[in-house]
């Protein structure tokens, strides 16, 4: 009799534990969903010329728990590249860590290279602050000579995708409409985790266009063309057409 009573009590207790754990998990997953929806990601590109800096700011919800990891996924076009050696020397000075998905060709022109992906971990260790700022130095590649009048080529840089992970919501489910994505857990790339990807990104700005100078080829004799346009990023060009035919 007592034995039956004790076993029923034990069963009820463990069931309660499981339910509580499930409830807690659902709570955390719900919170995660809430955090990812309320996080703001903004990007701006500073400096001029072939050497720029991409500044990404992440504003997390103030109620974000510690133990939540943030991952910024940049999909870079082939018109730019990052210098892994420069990044390695910077990583000693910064608190963010970066992981590249492939080897970077430091010298190739744009049309002979491909885009690449970087995984940026703004706070690999320690508690997650609500405001994160990451500045990545990028460099422009030389582009194919232009056959049209334009002497600048445009490279579109998308803002990064925001991914969040917490150990308290494993495995990830019920995070619709956000996607679940596999990505390295840390910049050491020793294991893979499931991250929640922000779906409808609350971006303060859309993709940013970066302009790089490019040589111009002419297919016919042309006269002097003196133009001084002013574009949104306050660059101005003086175009002087040489009197020669293209190769």
């Amino acid at each position: 009799m007592y034995f039956v009573l004790v076993s029923v009590l034990a069963c009820l207790a463990s069931c309660h534990c499981f339910i509580e754990r499930d409830e807690k998990k659902e709570n955390h997953c719900g919170l995660l969903q809430h955090w990812i929806e309320s996080t703001l990601v903004s990007m701006q590109i500073i400096k001029k010329g072939f050497h720029r800096e991409v500044e990404t700011t992440v504003e997390l919800s103030p109620d974000v728990h510690s133990g939540v990891r943030v991952l910024l996924l940049h999909r870079w076009p082939r018109g730019v590249y990052v210098d892994p050696y420069q990044l390695a020397s910077l990583s000693d000075l910064n608190d963010w860590k970066i992981l590249l998905d492939s080897t970077i060709d430091l010298e190739g022109p744009a049309h002979k290279t491909t885009g690449f992906v970087t995984f940026v971990y703004p706070t690999p260790d320690g508690p997650t602050p609500t405001l994160l700022k990451v500045t990545i130095p990028i460099h422009g590649r030389y582009h194919e000579p232009s056959f049209v009048a334009e002497t600048f080529t445009s490279v579109e840089i998308e803002p990064p995708e925001l991914l969040l992970w917490t150990e308290k919501c494993i495995p990830l489910n019920n995070v619709e409409p956000h996607d679940v994505m596999e990505a390295p857990c840390t910049h050491h790339n020793s294991s893979s985790c499931q991250w929640v990807k922000q779906q409808h990104q609350k971006k303060e700005r859309g993709p940013v266009n970066v302009q790089f100078p490019v040589v111009k080829l002419y297919s016919s004799y042309s006269g002097v063309d003196y133009r001084v346009p002013l574009d949104a990023s306050s660059q101005f060009t003086v175009i002087f057409s040489p009197y020669f035919c293209s190769a």
Partner: protein
């Protein structure tokens, strides 16, 4: 006068300052090349190939030499380069003495190298050009003192480290051949045969075999260790290099425009022609004074090359002190040419800065500045050649 005391006034403080700037400022003092060498040396200490370091395009010997950068201190390499700078100064002094210049005059000319901010700056920033300067000057000293065996060893080593000393082979061969008494016999075939036979002598054979031997042994050793990658990165890359990115050479513009055309490879090879022709002419005209000939060779090679960066200037600047005592240029003329040379570089650096750091499209201006710089270099070389006096006892510097 102690040689070691002179550079210490500038070099060591500069190295210390460089370290400080690297740690505190965004614009680094140390050249990117130094980091490339150090990274390659690190790969070697881990038992890997130095060519795992992207853009390492030098002999593995350099990375091996810099392994103390990893084991001892990062600054070891810079110290080595500075020591080679001082050694180059000493070698210049000894060569000038051998050529008959007085001690005082030799010291004065020597100080043009030792107190020159350009080699000091280059070495303290971590470029390895001074190693090659020391090797080339060592070769010339041995040739001047007729220690052919040592000259050949150093020459083989120089060519292994960088390709450009291979151009010295022709003037060295011309200077080592048997000088025959002038014959009245002008018959084409016979004089040609005599000319060819003049190359077949013991000294030239010894030099050629030792130099080639050293080069082949080093090449074979590193090929065995690192394979095809060593051959490609150390030699073939430099021979087939068509750098479309802006540099002092006006060729960059042509190479950029024709990079994807089917003719680009032929254009790259064709660009060797002006260099080759000028080198042949210079060898024939001036092989009797090996130092002057080598200086001309290097200056022509660098000025007419498809790629030209400021590091290359050191290749001929280290030989300039050997040439100066033979020039009948006045101090005013010499300084004028120097200012012209710097002005040419300044005119290029302006648009290059605006292209790279401000984003203006100044490609055309950079190309024009490159052409102007080539014209200036040619003018300077013409002035040097026309004021060259191949006397036994070199004249002292004329001061107006």
């Amino acid at each position: 006068m102690s040689f070691s005391r002179l550079p210490s006034l500038y070099d060591w403080p500069l190295v210390a300052y460089g370290d400080y700037q690297d740690k505190t400022m965004v614009v680094k003092f140390t050249d990117i090349d130094y980091h490339v060498f150090t990274d390659a040396a690190r790969f070697i200490t881990e038992g890997q190939s130095p060519y795992n370091r992207s853009t390492y395009r030098y002999t593995p010997l350099l990375a091996w030499l810099l392994t103390p950068n990893i084991y001892l201190s990062m600054v070891f390499g810079k110290i080595l380069f500075i020591v080679c700078d001082v050694l180059s100064g000493l070698l210049i002094y000894k060569i000038l003495l051998l050529k008959g210049l007085g001690t005082e005059a030799a010291l004065r000319v020597c100080s043009l190298w030792l107190l020159n901010p350009l080699p000091i700056g280059v070495s303290s920033r971590g470029n390895a050009e001074s190693i090659l300067a020391a090797l080339v000057l060592g070769t010339l000293l041995c040739m001047e003192a007729r220690h052919l065996m040592w000259g050949a060893i150093l020459y083989g080593l120089s060519v292994h480290m960088k390709i450009y000393p291979v151009t010295y082979a022709l003037p060295i061969a011309l200077s080592l051949r048997t000088t025959e008494t002038r014959s009245e016999d002008k018959k084409g075939m016979k004089s040609l045969m005599r000319f060819i036979r003049s190359f077949l002598n013991r000294e030239l054979f010894l030099f050629a075999s030792v130099a080639a031997g050293v080069f082949c042994v080093l090449t074979a050793l590193f090929y065995y260790m690192y394979g095809w990658e060593f051959l490609h990165e150390t030699y073939l890359y430099h021979l087939t290099r068509r750098d479309i990115r802006h540099n002092f050479s006006p060729y960059f513009y042509m190479l950029y425009l024709t990079a994807d055309s089917g003719w680009s490879q032929w254009l790259g090879l064709a660009a060797f022609l002006p260099q080759l022709i000028l080198l042949l002419v210079a060898s024939w005209a001036f092989h009797s004074d090996l130092s002057f000939c080598c200086f001309l060779h290097t200056a022509i090679f660098v000025s007419f090359n498809k790629v030209c960066t400021s590091q290359y200037f050191l290749w001929y600047l280290c030989l300039l002190p050997l040439v100066i005592p033979h020039l009948s240029l006045s101090l005013k003329q010499g300084v004028g040419l120097l200012i012209l040379w710097f002005a040419g570089q300044g005119l290029w650096l302006g648009p290059a800065y605006f292209l790279e750091f401000e984003g203006y499209n100044t490609f055309l201006w950079i190309w024009l500045a490159g052409l102007l710089f080539l014209i200036i270099n040619s003018f300077i070389l013409i002035q040097i050649v026309s004021h060259y006096k191949p006397t036994q006892t070199p004249q002292r510097l004329k001061v107006e």
